[in-house]
């Protein structure tokens, strides 16, 4: 099932003991589901607390007197304007303003930042950052950590019971609560929750403690995908690619106005895209009926003309109906527009719909 180069999670034995079914993702053997199955795992996360092993994702510490300047070059970001412990969703862009990766950058100190990157892009991200770091007085250090996410309305309470206080930490903030730990209030489900990078021995203790709490269950990658899709969050490699810019992706909220005039890589290209307006835009898509519409499906308008394509699609266990997102011609991107998805030759009616499908429940203050 998996090749020789497949990477294995440090806590793989715990997932095996929990009865996980594994599958390949971004070069890693990952737990896809546990015995309850994707539907129950998804709903459990929205109702209580889901525990995810996301150690396939990469943490980079970026430090030194030129750290902020390096990040300002690599990302459409004013890293120096971040408060200490403030996190920001941002990107590495190429010269054409295409998204090499989407990331979260957290300021940990005056000249220290944490960058959290996607598994599939970790090698390219490191190469990219190191190549740029040569022009700045900055150090890029990939960290060897187990990375866990605890997501859902009971996440904070279960952490508190495990002896980890989160009270003062707000959404999109991150701190170093213990030696070699990084903890942020963030996630990929639309729920309140936390992501914690920590050494393996500490992780084993924390997982054991958390799982004694009946509100906490392991959640696999399958439910992680359905949760993020309902929450309208993008998956790099599907909804975002090096061929897609932040304006087309509807992610300009992540780039502050004053930064748009700046000198980050891809700035000129992004400015010209903004001037003429993107040709296509990312939208939510709600298929009629129960048949899911999947990534890759072509979209046509009422007259049968090409309208775009689906980049993520599946079934939303919380919404109780199929959910999807994709790119459509800008003229068709208005909510309420009726389109059709081609699924094995059948035209399934889909409505352009505002995202997210399930409301975000972040703890912002």
């Amino acid at each position: 099932m998996t090749g020789e180069d497949t990477k294995h999670l440090p806590l793989e034995d715990l997932h095996q003991a929990a009865g996980a079914r594994f599958g390949a993702f971004a070069g890693w053997s990952m737990p896809l589901t546990y015995p309850p199955g994707v539907m129950k795992e998804h709903l459990h996360t929205r109702e209580h607390a889901g525990l995810f092993d996301i150690s396939h994702m990469k943490l980079f510490a970026v430090s030194g007197p030129g750290a902020a300047a390096l990040l300002n070059r690599a990302c459409p970001l004013d890293a120096g304007a971040l408060d200490i412990s403030q996190s920001k969703y941002t990107f590495f862009l190429n010269e054409a303003a295409g998204i090499i990766d989407d990331l979260i950058v957290t300021r940990l100190g005056d000249d220290r930042f944490m960058v959290v990157a996607n598994a599939g892009n970790a090698v390219e991200d490191e190469r990219h950052l190191r190549a740029l770091a040569g022009d700045f007085d900055a150090r890029v250090e990939p960290l060897d950590r187990v990375f866990l996410a605890i997501q859902g309305p009971d996440a904070w309470a279960t952490l508190a019971r495990a002896g980890i206080e989160t009270g003062s930490l707000l959404f999109m903030h991150g701190i170093e609560p213990r030696k070699n730990w990084f903890m942020s209030r963030s996630g990929y489900t639309g729920e309140d929750g936390f992501e914690i990078g920590l050494p393996e021995a500490d992780a084993r203790d924390l997982v054991t403690t958390l799982l004694k709490d009946e509100r906490v269950q392991w959640i696999g990658l399958a439910a992680r995908d359905s949760l993020r899709l309902e929450a309208g969050l993008c998956l790099h490699g599907q909804d975002l690619t090096p061929g897609i810019d932040p304006a087309s992706a509807g992610l300009m909220w992540a780039i502050p106005k004053e930064v748009r005039a700046g000198h980050f890589i891809g700035a000129d290209a992004l400015r010209s895209i903004l001037e003429s307006g993107p040709a296509q835009k990312r939208v939510g898509l709600k298929p009629d009926g129960r048949q899911p519409v999947r990534a890759g499906a072509a979209l046509v308008d009422a007259d049968g003309n090409p309208a775009g394509h689906v980049t993520s699609g599946g079934f939303g266990p919380s919404t109780g109906h199929p959910v999807a997102m994709g790119y459509v011609d800008t003229a068709l991107a208005k909510a309420g527009t009726k389109l059709f998805a081609d699924v094995r030759g059948t035209k399934i009616p889909v409505d352009v719909t505002p995202l997210p499908f399930t409301p975000h429940r972040y703890r912002k203050g």
Partner: protein, 122 residues
Amino acid sequence: MAKTYFTEDHEWLRVDGGVATVGITDYAQEQLGDLVFVELPEIGRKLAKGDTAVVVESVKAASDVYAPVDGEITEANASLSADPSLVNSAATGDGWLWKMKLSDESQLASLMDEAAYKAHIG
């Protein structure tokens, strides 16, 4: 008396009077996970062995279910439109997918019996 056969693609057929009731095995439903949609075949459709008869969709992916032998669809399990999870909860019972009139019963000889199928999935 009805006899049950199995395929390497994890389907079962219960044959009675020249008509086969077809479904996927418990092993297959477990591999697929929670089903959310079943695309049922048209009555009267003629299928050759290996043609896609039904598409079952889980939260994550769509999978084809192939005709295990030649024949003509005589019935599709309409209760799956309202409750596709029947395939998960009763794969070899109420979660059957379709019925087909066999055009060549000699094809059944190449299929497995339950003991051979159990050995096949290990």
